[in-house]
């Protein structure tokens, strides 16, 4: 595979924090931490499938340290991963036979996958270069007084724009709390009127037609208050069964 231009090393500077000069590189020269890691492996002529983790982790850290930590968050993440791997590799393993899983496997998989992407990227770069060797017609004389091009808009685009607008609002207003949202007095009056009419009725009838959530809460509070005062009794045949509201004659008789 040909060496991509991005990997060419600048002249090694003199102050190298104890690292061999070959490892003093510029962060800008790499398109990411995996790129840097591949570069280190190649420098050392190491196989991806059998990475000496301890050595590579130390080199990786040294390079990052050398480069300063600004803009290096992605690099630090991989550095952390390498250190974890280094620790795992030091753990005693029982025996090779009973299904020991190489802790490096995931890293190896990622490196190979990334290497494949890099190869495709090189191919794309070359294809773009070849294409750039060919030019389309450059000068397009303005057509005489044609009407402006038709405008194309569709609903999906508009809705995507709505979504972008919403996504872009930094702190969306999720709710507003309004004073006096519940009308317990009103609900109580309605229930007492119902009780004068009928001895027993269901929860649905208590709510009335098309109740809002506010109606539901108001009615529930009113019922609980009426039950506390002994005006009604509330019963359920079973847990979660419909609630039955009955005029409480036992206590009003007192």
């Amino acid at each position: 595979m040909e060496q991509p231009a991005a990997l060419t090393l600048p002249e090694p500077p003199t102050s190298a924090l104890g690292a061999s000069p070959a490892f003093v590189v510029e962060l800008e020269a790499f398109s990411g931490p995996l790129d840097l890691l591949l570069h280190l492996l190649r420098e050392e002529e190491l196989e991806i499938s059998d990475i000496p983790i301890a050595r590579i982790a130390d080199q990786f850290l040294r390079v990052i340290h050398n480069l300063g930590l600004n803009q290096a968050a992605d690099y630090l993440e991989l550095a952390g991963r390498l250190l974890r791997l280094k620790a795992q590799m030091l753990l005693p393993r029982r025996s090779e036979e009973d299904g020991w899983e190489d802790p490096r496997a995931e890293l190896v998989r990622r490196l190979l996958e990334y290497q494949q992407i890099r190869e495709v990227a090189l191919w794309l770069g070359r294809a773009a270069e070849r294409r750039a060797d060919q030019s389309a017609r450059g000068f397009l004389p303005a057509p005489p007084a044609l009407p402006p091009p038709p405008l194309h808009v569709d609903l999906l685009e508009l809705l995507e724009a709505v979504q972008r607008v919403i996504d872009g609002i930094p702190a969306p207003v999720l709710h507003r709390v309004v004073a006096r949202p519940l009308n317990v007095e009103g609900a109580t009056r309605r229930l007492i009127a119902l009780l004068e009419d009928r001895e027993e009725f269901g929860w649905r009838e208590a709510l009335g037609p098309e109740p809002t959530l506010s109606d539901v809460l108001s009615t529930l509070l009113a019922l609980l208050e009426l039950a506390r005062r002994g005006t009604v009794s509330l019963t359920q045949a079973a847990p979660f069964a419909p609630m039955v509201i009955r005029r409480d004659t036992s206590r009003t008789a007192d």
């Binding site: 017609r137 808009v153 919403i166 709390v177 309004v178």
Partner: protein, 194 residues
């Protein structure tokens, strides 16, 4: 075709402007103006002899390759030269805010999108997608915008109620403005945080 005629053909085709015979001499170090004129003549004859749909035309600005007038009508009918233009992301976002919040003023749009809206509003107005529908009572009596009939037509909507409702969008749009009495019920859903 001679190598010079080839070079000239490539240059006239690819350059972003008509080229003079003098400019064309730059293509090759040992080329004189006479050489260029000879090659241009050769090119013209080739196009004519093989009945190409393009011809070499000399105009005030220089030489250019143009389609022959005979094909103008067919091309215009086919409309290859005009690509339907699309709205930019900024225009679409502004339009979506106006569609859902109309009548709405410029400052509210700018507040929502976090960028100034003057240019976008002007271009939407020029395209006839939005129109001024009134003035706000707020300080300075700013203009209020709404969508136009053309907007509905382009999107194939009968009227504004055809727009998907907020609840149908993957995230509901919350109105960051004072609630009207009708909104009170909805607002009461949310218990005050303890």
């Amino acid at each position: 075709m001679t190598p010079l005629a080839q070079l000239i053909e490539a240059a006239l085709f690819a350059a972003a402007r008509p080229l003079t015979a003098e400019e064309l001499t730059v293509l090759d170090a040992d080329t004189s103006l006479v050489d260029v004129r000879t090659a241009l003549e050769q090119l013209r004859e080739l196009y004519d002899f093989h009945q190409h749909a393009i011809e070499l035309v000399e105009m005030a600005g220089g030489f250019q390759l143009l389609t022959r007038p005979a094909f103008a009508q067919a091309l215009e009918r086919a409309q290859f030269t005009v690509r339907a233009s699309k709205l930019t992301a900024a225009a679409l976002e502004t339009l979506s805010i106006i569609a859902y919040r109309q009548p709405v003023g410029r400052s509210e749009i700018e507040e929502i999108r976090g960028v100034s809206a003057g240019g976008v509003l002007r271009s939407l107005q020029e395209r006839g997608l939005i129109e001024v529908v009134g003035r706000s009572e707020a300080l300075g009596r700013p203009l209020l915008y709404g969508t136009s009939a053309k907007f509905l037509e382009l999107l194939g909507l009968k009227d504004l109620t055809d727009l998907p409702r907020a609840e149908e969008l993957s995230i509901a749009i919350q109105p960051p403005r004072p609630l009207t009495p009708d909104d009170e019920e909805a607002a009461a859903y949310v218990p005050a945080e303890s």
